[in-house]
């Protein structure tokens, strides 16, 4: 990918489901490396659809989606899986940790699926857990952790393969205030370290605290795209 190329390049994307109105209509969006973009909008505005298209979990009805230099919209299932393993990391509202695996095993999963050597994967997981300050829970099961700690584990897992882009879907949506603050702080730190982030949220505080840019969707259309000089940390 050229140094100047955007991490996300969405052009004229429309996504329709059945006969209803389009979930996304003629959306064009570009995200550069190092940006932290918060996609805002009410329920049904198309935020999750946009996220799914970027993650290769869905395909546009029209237009193109390029992420980290790869056309995502026409990928086969296998290529799409490889893309998710290597180019992006995902964080979900409800963490989506596998409850039967320990924290370490959850974090190791993406690396193991990508075939990273065992020792390297373990070294990297240990580093991430320490960096995210959850290394004391390495052998615990997710069910024993607080919401904030679980989301930190989810972030660690998302960063395991050093993705070009971190996608976060309502990362504070299921958290109490304290845990939400914890996650906001974490995402801002990551962006400050150069991690490109696209997050979908209702949480204006999250957008204000860690986004360098906000994009507002209404009825599947981009109605506002605002650059912020710096994120408030």
């Amino acid at each position: 990918m050229p140094a100047t190329a955007p991490v996300i390049d969405i052009r004229d994307v429309t996504r329709t489901y059945g006969e209803g109105p389009p979930a996304l209509a003629d959306v064009t969006l570009s995200v550069r490396a190092g940006e932290a973009v918060a996609v805002l909008g009410p329920s049904g505005s198309g935020k999750s659809t946009l996220l799914n298209l970027i993650a290769g979990l869905d395909r546009p009805s029209a237009g193109s989606v390029t992420v980290a230099g790869l056309r995502v919209d026409g990928m086969s299932e296998a290529r799409s899986a490889e893309f998710r393993r290597t180019k992006i990391g995902m964080v979900f509202q409800f963490f989506n940790l596998l409850d039967d695996l320990t924290v370490t095993d959850n974090v190791l999963l993406p690396a193991q699926l990508a075939g990273l050597p065992r020792a390297e994967a373990r070294r990297r997981a240990a580093g991430l857990l320490e960096h995210l300050r959850i290394d004391r829970h390495a052998d615990a099961y997710p069910g024993r952790l607080s919401g904030g700690e679980r989301q930190r584990v989810a972030v660690a897992r998302a960063l395991m393969n050093r993705p070009a882009l971190l996608l976060a879907d309502e990362p504070t949506g299921a958290l109490d205030t304290a845990s939400g603050d914890d996650v906001r702080e974490l995402l801002a730190e990551l962006n400050a370290d150069g991690q490109t982030i696209l997050l979908v949220t209702h949480d204006l505080r999250l957008a204000e605290s860690c986004a360098t840019r906000t994009v507002e969707l209404v009825d599947g259309r981009v109605v506002r795209d605002t650059e912020r000089t710096t994120a408030v940390t």
Partner: protein, 794 residues
Amino acid sequence: MSALGKVVRAGVGRRRLQSAVMILTALMAVTASVLAAGLLVAARAPFDHAFARQRGAHLTVQFDGAKVTGRQVGATAHVSGVSAAAGPFRALSLRPRTASGSDALPAGVDLPPLTVVGRADAGGRVDGVRLVAGAWATRPGQIVVAYGGMPVQPGARLTFPSAPGAPTLTVVGVARSVTGTADAWVTPAQAGALSARGGPVSYEMLYRFRHAGTDAQVAADRDAIAAAVPKGALSGSRSYLAVRQQETANTMAFVPFLAAFGVLGLLLSVLVIGIVVSGAVGAATRRIGILKSLGFSPSQVVRAYVGQALIPAGVGCALGLVLGNLLAVPVLGEVGTAFGGPGASVPVWIDVVVPGAALVLVAGAALVPALRAGRLRTVEAITVGRTPGTGRGRLARRLAGRLPVPRAVGLGLAYPFARPARSATTAAAVAFGAATVTFGVGLALTLGAVQSGRMLDSAGSVMVAAGGGQAPPGAQAVHAGGGPDAPTADPAEVAAALRAQHGTSRFYGIAQAQVSASGITGATTVVAYQGDTAWAAPQMVSGRWLDGPGQAVVTTRFLKAAGIRVGDTVTLTERGRRASVRIVGEAFFTAGEGMELLTRTSTLAALGLDATPGQYGVRTKPGTDLGRYLTSLNAALQPVGAVAQANTARGSDVIVTMDALVGTLTLMLVAVAGLGVLNTVVLDTRDRVHDLGVLKALGMAPRQTVAMVVTSVAGIGLLAGAVAVPAGVALHRFVTPLMGRAVGMTLPASDIAVYRTPALAALACGGLVIAVLGALLPAVWAARTDTATALRTE
């Protein structure tokens, strides 16, 4: 339609795959069970009806007139245990010659020897002989022949050249004795006239006993009769049980393995239906909660889930009923009219009881999970989603995560430990399938061994016919022209040609004749061997093969029919000459209905018969080109008057039918087992669909998803296969001797011990194959599951 009916119908329609599984499993179980139970009952019914109607003889006994008087024989009617008796009747072994011609038989043809009995009337307290055509013999010069024996009709004339004055008798009737007590009947006066002066005299006595339900009871009664006459006077006997077994043998041979398949099918049905309904309840907890919140009572919920199992199972039972009856038609065909009764068919009560029992089992299997559904508390049911509780199998997951295998495989290997009960039922379904394959393969191997070993003289690759009237073993020899035709080829010249032929390894000669044998009604075919025969011996069950003169080898069926055992002596009679042979071995072969007596040619010579071999069995050296060998040998044999041809035996239709049934039932059971696995993997995949979405969102590729799902049952499959193979082998070892016993034969041990190590190793992988095949489809579905949708599933 009531609300309950709508729920049941919607449930059946929504779970099409599960409904199809239940239909198939019930279909298979009921087909095999109807066939097995139907054949067991229907095959014997015609004989049993005829036996009761004609007051058949429980035991037909021959006495040696040289050792006992007619009066002494008559006194045996009062032996303890005898409830009725008929006789004594004078019995003679005579070889008739046709004196009048017909389309079927020209004049002047020598026929096989007949057991001719002097009997005043067809009725009596025992063995009411039923006239099929004509009338009973009422005066000298008349004879009645047994139905199904000689191809002669009333009006035909038969001459008895060996009887005093070579009288010619007129056939006045054709009659049927249910236990075949004679080949022909004449008046007592005529029987006396037919007896050669000073020649051997035999008496026949017919008995009914108070207790004659088993072989042991009949044998005890026979011993009591033998004890009532001088030692050695009882020269032969035949139990009605042996006759019934012989008449229904082919049909009854189906029963043991069909019963085994039926039981396996019913057990698998219970298991699979339990899995299906349990899965349906587990997957629809929320739905059950909604139904209850709408006012459904616990009993209505229970009925709804039992109904969802009973409807498809009912369809399967109905289809199985039809299929079972259709398959029974060709199998029962041969026993239908053999006893002059109506054609045999599966009794109506079997058609009612078997599907009824199957439905009761299905309802029982469905009731347990349905009761669980009925007991679910409404609030819990409506709030609890489908996602199963976690906690079990964590240790297994941790350990699997450390295995040096791809992560997807490690995850799959740990899955069974998270749901041990479901894993156990999957293992049971796989085990049933693998055991069935093991059993089915074993049956096919045994039937193959029986098929190749059942004919005599099958060891050699070439048969040489030396001409003359010698028929192949098992055929009814009919010699035209008043005496047996001698083989035309000189045995010494044939032997010399065979020895001189390059490629000949070993050979022996075969002669044969039909004579009377003590204890056996009608003619017995004697197959007599000359030369080196050890390599060509049939499969031995007990005792040993012939190694000298005066010896004989027969089948279990012959031993039972004659009421003798290995070590006993059989007296052969031909035109007044007698020769005794000692039974030295019990062999397995079905040639001549398994009633041929194998001996050396010296036995024929002792009876005054031509012992010149009419055939030669030849083994070629390894690597010999058979075509070239035959061409070259025939060139050498042509001047001698003999012809060589490849030794090919025709396959038994019964065995072919059995093979087809075994194959079909095995495939059906394996399909049901595979569908059982498929069903549990589908349920498992549904339960884990959210985890699956997470894994796919993290980058799990489709092939990794397939590998994970398939691996989740592969370990179970391997384990279940390893357990199932010994079970299948044990079932085979239990069933195959019963099949032999059903036809009055003892199968050789080598035909039962058919599993070799490579085959067992391959069969042990059968569980893995069934599990993988069953899991493949849901694994592909899992790989294709939409990730975004899966992530939204709770």
